[in-house]
Amino acid sequence: MATTFTAPKLSSPTFQTLCRNLPVFTPLPNPLSSSSRHRHHYRLHLQQQRRNLSVVRAESENGSELLRHYDFDLFTIGAGSGGVRASRFAANFGASVAVCELPFSTISSETTGGVGGTCVLRGCVPKKLMVYASKYSHEFDESNGFGWKYDTEPKHDWSTLMANKNAELHRLTGIYKNILGNAGVTLIEGRGKVVDPHTVDVDGKLYTARHILISVGGRPFIPDIPGSEYAIDSDAALDLPSKPEKVAIVGGGYIALEFAGIFKGLQSEVHLFIRQKKVLRGFDEEIRDFVGEQMSLRGIKFHIEESPLAIVKSADGSLSLKTNKGTIEGFSHIMFATGRRPNTKNLGLESVGVKMNKNGAIEVDEYSRTTVPSIWAVGDVTDRINLTPVALMEGGALAKTLFQNEPTKPDYRAVPSAVFSQPPIGQVGLTEEQAIKEYGDIDVYTANFRPLKATLSGLPDRVLMKLIVCAKTDKVLGLHMCGDDSAEITQGFAVAIKAGLTKADFDATVGIHPTSAEEFVTMRTPTRKIRQGPEAEGKTGNEAKAAAGV
């Protein structure tokens, strides 16, 4: 969880490595103290020679490299999840590391950012805090069914939430700075630009480095339509000065869904405009249908297959959204959640020959190396899987590759993820559609039930759970859930799926009663068996959840 931090380890493995490799050096100087930096560099360079032979082979093409002195072993541009992780770990492994980051602001731009990056300042953390805040209105409704009564309807004070949220973000950015400082990483505030394969320019000052890491992340993208200047993106949506009375959200991805839930819960009127028939392209089809239904039941107005053409501002200041199907008026805010783009502009990448794809994402190999051997990239700027824990994995792997003599590839198999919509979604592994394509014969187990809480609250909340199993090997290929606690529930199952466990292993596990999660270990009969052949059996069983447990 983002609010907790493992205390940085002070590189005892590195000390051991150094001791083993260089027995002549006694006593060991503190690699983090500046007085010893010179000697420290020397040692590292010796160590580097060994690595160059095994790991960073490309470097040894240039023999003079070994003698060249750099200001830093690693210079990281961008102190978000991936950059901070790579920098800290590299420093813990004994490298001298600097990281540069733009000044703090809740809204990102060419000149503002902040230590912590998207996750902490403009993504996961503030989003989740807003989800917590907005979920209460559903809880108030639920609590009525449990005997709680409110004489006057609970009212929400927007400014209290914003103030408390921003105080938390400031606290977190401070913690991240401390983490870097404690790891001995030099933090430089300013905009970093690559000048040559070993030089970074930060606001006019030049720094040399053996390795440069680009971890500048991504930023929301708003399509260029007439009136797009009136639209807000997710950065702004997380820090609005007042409650949006009536908001249009354009987009069907996870950000759009999460904000629809947030604003609805905080008592706004919410309209969601999606280009396709369903939300969440790429997710399991059944989950896509289910979450759409559940969100509609909670009062979000869906406008399907409706694309924005223009935004018009009226004299009274309200906004109208013109779409391919007509014009809807009276919005206080129009939010675009229409994708994010890598922050690769004006970084000097083209001039040094770092190759990017057509979206501007930096192309990297399996070790996160760019087309320039001394330049590496992790996180959203590479547009692989844009999730904080993946950036952390990439950053951690890179530090090991570069500074611990242990070439490490990030492993993208069975990466779990969550959508903090209301209700939330958790998933790991393949969707039913992907599994059919890849394996052909699969068994699908589903449970679609009214949870115990809803039977009392009287609300129309339901839960959908789904296991995709390989018919031939019995391996669980995918797990999907939409309903309360999905994100928390999915994590443990992700360990099981990553470990390659079978349906029989799930069945052998005893349930925890009464929970929702126990459904995943009590699914006895396949809902459908999908076979390559023409005849596929189909059966649906929607028995009450309590009954299914017997």
Binding site: M1, T3, T4, T6, C119, C124, V125, K128, L129, Y132, A133, Y136, E139, G145, F146, G147, W148, K149, Y150, D151, P154, K155, H156, D157, S159, N164, K165, R171, P389, L392, M393, D411, V415, P416, S417, L452, L456, E488, I489, T490, Q491, G492, A494, V495, A496, A499, A508, T509, V510, G511, I512, H513, T515, S516, A517, F520, A546, A547, G549, V550
Partner: protein, 496 residues
């Protein structure tokens, strides 16, 4: 279905025997274990009868109800009340998130109670339907064993029915017991606590087990003044000591008065309530005194002596690994056997019984790595070994990984309550031996972890799993540094 699996010879035999008995199986007690065994046996093709006492929320010698403890007097109503009570804390937490609520919130206990009863009546009906859909014949009345293959059901009107059965399954569960102290009749058990007419303002709970802790959380969450008395230093004996301390701390922080190492010695009726006297000489007044001092198997009125079914000294029916008693035609599952008294375990035992006896597949219940949860507020959930058990059983060093953090929700709500998570790992094999967590959603989180542990997952496999961010559960896959290493000799080495 099972019959098809038998060879012809056996088939003939079965048919012959069938002719001699009214039922292939007669089950006494329609709780979790009994219903499961009955249904599955019927699905395997057996002719099954089952008897159960008439329905009532409060059990006695002569009342019970289809669904049993779990549905009528345990897991389900308890969880409903926990949901209701948890809103108390939620409403406090909401304020720093910007929600303005009335100073005085109104909570209507009668409404909750009424809805709870409606729900268990609904479930009671569903269970009856499940039985009839499976073709199981249900009798309402008290079942007794007359012979190794004969049961007698005394119906409500006093008439007696007698049936022969090839197999008899005892699944009569257990009931709460009271300590033998003066005035014990003034106290209540968990049965009554789930159906109180009025919400107590002052509640005294005696006991340190999960039932005691759960009711303390329920009543406190609904606004009562709660005093919890228990004999040990910490509640929840048998659980990981570190986690027990966490639970105790959380209960206290939520406003429950803990009285460790204290026994109740007497209850006296007064005009102002029940006067409770402790062995420390303390006296306090309560509206309700709950005894959560253990449960005893319901084996007394089954007439087991008549056929010589062996009981242990607590009255639990003794069974072998296949749930068979010393009388070959009589079997027992669930709490009445006092093995591991959990609904899902009774379900497992019931399933294994049906497979063994009617499914043509010998099946022993597997008691390793059974996860469980305590629905205190916040809840505790565990699977596998506690740190103490791991050290005791260890052949090599034990590594303990802990994470003690402020959940993200609390950063704004301001609630001072840490979530604690723990993994206990075998240093040599890297296998995760035990996992525990105390904090919001712990039971939901632990289920998936339980699958991994059941299959012998290693710490490396946990570490290779990517986290779900931001969640509490992701801590389980991001525990990088060892908190302590305990050598085989049992000496902890801190801060490795």
């Amino acid at each position: 279905m099972a019959r098809k699996m038998l060879v012809d010879e056996e088939m003939t035999q079965t048919n012959q025997e069938e002719a001699h008995f009214d039922f292939d199986l007669f089950v006494i007690g329609a709780g979790s274990g009994g219903v499961r065994a009955a249904r599955f046996s019927a699905n395997f093709g057996a002719k099954v009868g089952i008897c159960e006492l008439p329905f009532h929320p409060i059990s006695s010698e002569v009342i019970g109800g289809v669904g049993g403890t779990c549905v009528i007097r345990g897991c389900v109503p308890k969880k409903i009340l926990v949901y209701g009570a948890a809103f108390g804390g939620e409403l406090e937490d909401a304020q720093n998130y910007g929600w303005e609520l009335n100073e005085k919130l109104d909570f209507n206990w009668k409404k909750l109670l009424h809805k709870k009863t409606d729900e268990i009546i609904r479930l009671n009906g569903i269970y009856k339907r499940l039985l009839s859909n499976a073709g199981v014949k249900l009798f309402e009345g008290e079942g007794k064993i007359v012979g190794p293959n004969e049961v007698e059901v005394t119906q409500l009107d006093g008439t007696k029915l007698s049936y022969s059965a090839k197999h008899i399954l005892i699944a009569t569960g257990s009931r709460a017991q009271r300590p033998a102290i003066p005035g014990q009749e003034l106290g209540i058990t968990s049965d009554e606590a789930l159906s109180l007419e009025d919400l107590p303002k002052r509640a005294v709970i005696f006991g340190g087990g999960y039932i005691a802790v759960e009711f303390a959380s329920i009543w406190r969450g609904l606004g009562a003044e709660v005093d919890l008395f228990f004999r040990r230093e910490l509640p929840l004996r048998g659980f990981d000591d570190e986690m027990r301390a966490v639970v105790a701390r959380n209960l206290e922080a939520r406003g429950i008065n803990l009285h460790p190492q204290t026994n109740l010695t007497e209850l006296i009726k007064t005009d102002n309530g029940i006067k409770v006297i402790t062995d420390h000489g303390e006296e306090l007044l309560a509206d309700v005194v709950l005894f959560a001092t253990g449960r005893l198997p319901n084996s007394k009125r089954l007439n087991l002596e008549a056929v010589g079914v062996e009981l242990d000294k607590t009255g639990a029916v003794k069974v072998d690994e296949y749930s068979r008693t010393n009388i070959p035609s009589i079997w027992a599952v669930g709490d009445v056997t006092n093995r591991m008294n959990l609904t899902p375990v009774a379900l497992m035992e019931g399933t294994c019984f049906a497979k063994t006896v009617f499914g043509g597949e010998s099946c022993k219940p597997d008691y390793s790595h059974i996860p469980c949860a305590v629905f205190s507020i916040p809840p505790l959930s565990v699977v596998g070994l506690s740190e103490e058990q791991a050290i005791e059983q260890a052949n090599s060093d034990v590594l303990v990984f802990t994470s003690n953090f402020n959940p993200m929700k609390n950063t704004i709500s301001g609630r001072q309550e840490k979530t604690v998570m723990k993994l206990v790992v075998d240093a040599e094999t890297d296998k995760v031996l035990g996992a525990s967590m105390c904090g919001p959603d712990a039971p939901e989180i632990m289920q998936g972890i339980a699958v991994a542990l059941k299959c012998g997952a290693t710490k490396a496999q946990f570490d290779s799993t990517v986290g779900i961010h931001p969640s509490a559960a992701e801590e389980f896959v991001t525990m990088r540094s060892v908190s302590r290493r305990i050598t085989v000799s049992g000496k902890p080495k801190e801060n490795l």
